[in-house]
């Protein structure tokens, strides 16, 4: 069984739940940006939740299947079409040999997850099938798909069912991204901190798997200091340090960048804190120009939000009888 790529879409990559353990070498986790949608897509087709799927951003690919299989498309509302006929998202459906899957225009969200029963069976690199395009590692030849690619698919089990809207999750408008202040938060003035939370930001065009840039808010005022040796002369500079996933750096104090699954592992810009783990999936579903706010939370609230997300996933498992 294989999936043939007729046309790749804007940027479609193979992703699973990622590649932990190599961040100290600058090799990031990678994996689906919306992990909830990735897990649910796999559940619907009878795969392990962490099987490799295709992640499409903004526009979908056109694919042809060489053998029968079960498919499901989750994530943003990118309507799947089987042989030209629209199919619902978040629902398992069968395909036969020779069938073609294409997509309509994106209606909401940003990324769709296309799961095939058996999972995309590209070689495992450093413990994962995820594509890290900047490092040309993993996935299909370390890159986004191209027309003419053929992806092997593993042996699958039968999947079935659908997941109603009430069990899904998409960002609101404005999106509310909960964040725990910390790291170099002390470098900005109290007034700048208040404005950071009060402002409504917009996703900038520079938004990808490495990070999401936000614009339209107030530039930060820094607490004056003599810059430490080795940091660089801008008040937003620090001695190059590790960057956590979800960390919010503000080069020059103007446009915050939230690092995501393909994060650069370190660098020389101060960070205000991190978007909490529970809200990372939401960022993956934001389009350029989407409004967003940062909402301050405590560690206890972050952990409660994390538990809520696990409960939401458990409800999907229950619903699908897994």
């Amino acid at each position: 069984m294989a999936v043939k790529v007729i046309s790749p879409g804007l940027s479609t990559t193979v992703q699973d739940l990622g590649r932990p353990g190599y961040y100290h070498l600058g090799i990031p986790l990678s994996g689906g940006m919306d992990r909830f949608a990735l897990r649910v897509a796999n559940m619907l087709v009878g795969n392990d939740e962490g099987a490799a799927v295709l992640e499409a951003v903004f526009t979908g690919p056109e694919l042809e299947f060489t053998a029968p299989a079960t498919l499901a498309v989750t994530g943003g509302d990118l309507p799947p079409k089987l042989n030209g006929e629209e199919r619902p998202g978040w629902e398992a459906f069968p395909v036969r040999a020779g069938d073609r899957l294409s997509f309509g225009f994106l209606k909401s969200g940003a990324r769709a997850y296309i799961a095939v029963s058996g999972g995309i069976d590209v070689p495992v690199k450093l413990g994962s099938r995820s594509t890290y395009t900047l490092g040309a590692l993993g996935g299909h030849e370390g890159r986004a798909l191209k027309a003419g690619d053929e992806l092997p698919v593993g042996a699958g089990k039968a999947g079935k069912g659908s997941v109603p809207a009430a069990l899904r999750r998409m960002p609101g408008s404005p999106a509310e991204l909960r964040m725990l202040p910390g790291l170099y938060w002390h470098r900005i003035t109290a007034e700048a901190g208040k404005r950071f939370f009060a402002d409504t930001w917009k996703v900038a065009p520079e938004a990808d798997r490495i990070g999401y840039r936000f614009k339209g808010g107030t530039a930060l005022d820094f607490v004056p200091r003599e810059q430490p040796f080795g940091a660089g002369s801008n008040p937003s500079n620090i001695v190059d340090a590790c960057y956590p996933y979800g960390s919010i750096q503000v080069p020059g104090g103007t446009e915050p960048i939230v690092l995501h699954r393909d994060a650069v592992s370190g660098g020389g810009y101060m960070m205000l804190g991190c978007v909490i783990s529970a809200d990372m999936d939401l960022i993956g579903q934001l389009q350029p120009h989407a409004p967003a706010r940062f909402v301050e939370v405590t560690m206890d609230q972050a952990l409660a939000a994390r538990a809520d997300r696990q409960a939401a996933l458990a409800r999907v498992r229950d619903h699908l009888g897994r």
Binding site: P20, G26, G135, G182, P228, G230, C242, Y245, M299
Partner: protein, 291 residues
Amino acid sequence: MTIRFSFGGDEHIFGEVSESMSLEAFFTSLSMTNAVKAAGIKGVTEICPANASFQVKFDPDRIRPGDLLKELQGMEAAASQSDASLQTRIIEIPVLYQDPWTHETLMRFRERHQDPTRTDLEYAAEINGLGTVENFIKAHSSQPWFVSMVGFVAGLPFLYQMVERERQLQVPKYLRPRTDTPKLTVGHGGCFSCIYSVRGAGGYQMFGITPMPIYDPNQQVSYLREEMCLFRPGDIVKWKPISRDDYDAALEAVEANRFEPVIRPATFSLSEFNNDMAGTNARLMEALHGR
């Protein structure tokens, strides 16, 4: 040095040993991350040493953030007193300074630079009071550099110059980062040099390029079969200025997979280095050249 701890969201603890860069801060950070590794704490998923800080990623479903913080704080006293010495390697990196590829790239991004009328090297020579590019290259390449962090992108080394602080070269980063940097560019920002392991965005000034691969996701390059990334924190680097002919010959050897990097075992002790930098560096050069 008291470590400043801070949570990075619900999955990371960040520890800043010092706001400013020094090898003392690096060694404390390395001792801390080695201690965390050795302790085998459940729920710890990534341990990342950096120049003067470090980061531990954890799974809060397996260990409570406050409990991990207490464990790390308990390691601090021992880490700051540990013996700052290493069994390490010295690696020679051939560099074609003022190469045509970084030159073409820096010309494309002139409006993002502090001084659009000059090249990155001319600017760096001027602000470090060295007068000419030739003097700057000599200052950059005559003494070894210490790998104090690996990261940013896969396998990229941050390098700290092994000379007295007043002689260390310092250059600001670009005003706005470039969207492009040639693969294997030798760059510099703040007090750090680096080698860009892959093509991509970057904010460091660009001085030259090396023909020697330092990252190979396909693990085909002879010396990168075991590990995709050449560098580890604690490695020592010596730049070797080369001509265009040398560069072309080295590249041909790389493409035929018969390029042999010069990598030798070496020892490093911070107290010995602080007492006698010239003597330490001379011994490192002897280790490199096998005399």
